[in-house]
């Protein structure tokens, strides 16, 4: 796989200006995504992972606002796009699938109509051509009896089928990047597995980059090449999936992995939860957002946000612990 950058996010900051004050939902995050790569973004609710994704596709709802940073897509900063350019970009270069397939399709139009609409608004093709594409797409995502299904309304589809339709809709214009915002969260476990299987298959078939937002670490391990762990509006650790899961460097990531059930655990082992409550982004702490909950918390953690420390090949962690270890060890500083 050639390593060429598709998406570069540089120091992105997003705030929500609420009557109670400024909520720093995303407080300066940076990452790269190469062509054909699948990146997982994990974090608990309110960690800013969805907000971050919505900014990429320009769907931030007011009072949310990007207040700093750059989002470079194939070298162009999309934050400078005007509304018209953004519309052409959305759905065409980047598309998105959402969490709740039950409510994401318009109940009063047929599935075929909604699929064809996506093609027709970005490409000058005939209706027949659009219909052909829609049917191909539905077949690709594993829907049978396509001719009939095209004429049906969303309420005639099951949840899993609707998510397949959403995936088909997301990919129908051959976007370079697909953002999946918790695509399996609202589905039954068995259906989840099917949808994941489908996405894995599609990933093999189509070389498309993908950002996979989830709080399910199992999903990340299953499908992603690399992973960013978010906490309190920041990416606190990122790297290749294997590296991060095998050698988690940040105490939060370690805590997350400890709190997850494992098949190979001994029966007497208990899950260890992370103590405390998620950070209040309205009154975000000055230092590391995780510091108040961290078992290794030191003085400096409360005062200052640490920079990234490289703890392996492309594996970075934002923790003073790692920074100090690196200083002591010396050799590990990149």
């Amino acid at each position: 796989m050639e390593k060429k950058k598709l998406l570069e996010v540089k120091d992105l900051r997003v705030s929500f200006f609420t009557p109670a004050g400024e909520v720093k939902a995303v407080g300066g995050i940076s990452y790269d995504l190469n062509y054909g790569e699948v990146m997982g973004i994990v974090g608990e609710s309110g960690s800013g992972k969805s907000v971050e994704a919505y900014s990429i596709i320009g769907l931030l709802q007011s009072p949310g606002k990007v207040i700093g940073g750059e989002i470079l897509f194939e070298g162009e900063n999309i934050l400078t796009y005007d509304e018209k350019k953004m519309r052409a970009f959305r759905g065409n270069s980047v598309s998105m699938i959402f969490q709740n397939p039950m409510t994401c399709l318009n109940p009063v139009y047929t599935v075929g109509n909604q699929l064809m609409e996506a093609v027709l608004c970005h490409e000058h093709v005939s209706k027949e051509e659009a219909k052909k594409r829609a049917m191909e797409m539905l077949t690709l995502v594993g829907i049978n009896n396509v001719e009939k299904r095209m004429k049906q309304y969303p309420h005639e589809f099951s949840g899993g089928m609707r998510q397949r339709v959403m995936i088909a809709m997301g990919m129908i214009c051959n976007p370079k990047l697909l953002i999946a915002d918790e695509p399996t969260t609202a589905l039954d476990v068995t259906i989840q597995a099917q949808i994941l299987e489908l996405m894995k298959e599609l990933k093999e078939k189509i070389q498309m980059s993908c950002i996979f937002i989830t709080h399910n670490l199992g999903v990340v391990a299953e499908i992603c090449d690399k992973v960013s762990v978010m906490y309190g509006g920041r990416i606190i650790e990122q790297g290749l999936v294997d590296d991060v899961f095998e050698h988690p460097a940040h105490p939060y990531t370690q805590g997350l992995l400890r709190s997850m059930p494992r098949v190979d655990a001994e029966s007497y082992e208990r899950l260890i939860p992370i103590e405390g409550t998620p950070v209040d982004l309205l009154n975000a702490p000055q230092g590391c957002p995780f510091a108040p909950r961290c078992e290794h918390c030191r003085r400096i953690c409360l005062d200052e946000m640490p920079d990234y420390t490289s703890v392996g090949n492309g594996h970075q962690s934002a923790c003073w612990l790692n920074a100090l270890q690196a200083l002591e060890g010396g050799s590990e500083v990149a």
């Binding site: 052409a88 759905g91 994401c104 399709l105 318009n106 109940p107 009063v108 608004c121 970005h122």
Partner: protein
């Protein structure tokens, strides 16, 4: 579907019979008689007149007689307003006049109301929304005769732009249609706005945005159709009322329509005309209810006719 419509129509017939009976009884419960005049009538004359129109019999018998002849297609003759002229003939003469004005009022109030409602929802909280909110509140609050009189004074009397009465030219329709449709327009605008605001935060609107659709497509294709249900509900009775004519508007602009005639017939206790016009309105209302149900189904494919509520 066909079965459903037939069932609804059978129910409709009973509804109309009940409305007719109630109207008949209430009408007779009101003091006064069509034969009373300022000069006073002698008792003998009174009795003779009542006997002539079958009003000397007990009420239930009168009602039965009326319903029987009604079912046979005979709505009786006018007692007072146009003496001895068949009611059906009078209705056939007056009704089309009201329909003509009503249709124009309907067309403009629905189109303008929906468009303004969409705009207000789209520009929620902006200047346009505030202006529309004031206009629609005012439109709902001020009585029809004020609107009609104002129009008449400004355009008819002061500016002399439009004819003050009659429907002889197309200009004659402008003011009555405007006055008649103003209240419904404001009401529809408000309905559309609030229902639109509900819909605009739905997930499928976000999907439509994520697809890269333009604002206009999102509002008019994806949001509008989903927010039409309350408007359709209101439209059913509205159509029936508008085409049977507004009393106030027809009086102010001297339009020889049914609405004005209806009220006058009550004033002078012209019983057969009261019955005839009431039944016409009832029939129209009941038909519109059935039509509304069918339109629901067309607007929202999830709605299944004849299921639920049974």
């Amino acid at each position: 579907m066909t079965k459903y419509v037939i069932k609804r129509l059978v129910i409709a017939i009973f509804t109309i019979l009940i409305i007719a009976s109630l109207t008949f009884l209430l009408m007779n419960a009101v003091p006064g008689s069509p034969f009373l005049t300022e000069h006073g009538v002698s008792d003998d004359t009174m009795l003779a007149l009542e006997a002539k129109y079958g009003m000397d019999k007990p009420l239930p018998i009168q009602l039965k007689n009326y319903l029987v002849s009604f079912v046979q297609g005979d709505m009786g003759v006018s007692i007072k307003m146009q003496k001895n002229r068949p009611v059906s003939e009078i209705i056939l003469e007056k009704f089309p006049v009201s329909v003509k004005v009503g249709i124009w009022a309907l067309i403009w109030s629905v189109t303008v109301g929906i468009v303004l409602g969409c705009l207000a929802a789209h520009y929620r909280g902006k200047v346009l929304d505030s202006i529309l909110r004031v206009v629609s509140t005012v439109g709902i609050a001020i009585p029809g005769f004020v609107v009609a009189s104002l129009l008449l004074i400004v355009f008819g009397v002061k500016l002399r732009l439009l004819p003050t009465s009659g429907l002889d030219s197309w200009q004659g329709y402008l003011m009555p249609a405007f006055a008649l449709g103003f209240y419904p327009m404001c009401y529809i605008a408000r309905l559309t706005r609030s229902s639109m605001l509900d819909v605009i935060h739905q997930d499928y609107i976000r999907t439509a945005k994520a697809k890269g659709l333009g604002n206009r497509t999102i509002v008019f294709k994806h949001a509008l159709r989903n927010s039409l249900i309350p408007v359709v509900t209101y439209l059913g009775p509205l159509i029936a009322y508008l085409i049977t004519g507004g009393f106030v508007v027809e009086t102010v602009f001297a339009i020889p329509g049914l609405g004005k005639y209806f009220v006058q017939s009550i004033m002078c206790r012209d019983y057969p005309i009261i019955m005839g016009t009431t039944i016409l309105l009832a029939v129209l209302l009941v038909i519109m209810m059935v039509v509304v149900d069918i339109v629901y189904k067309l607007v929202d494919p999830r709605i299944q006719l004849g299921k639920g509520g049974e």
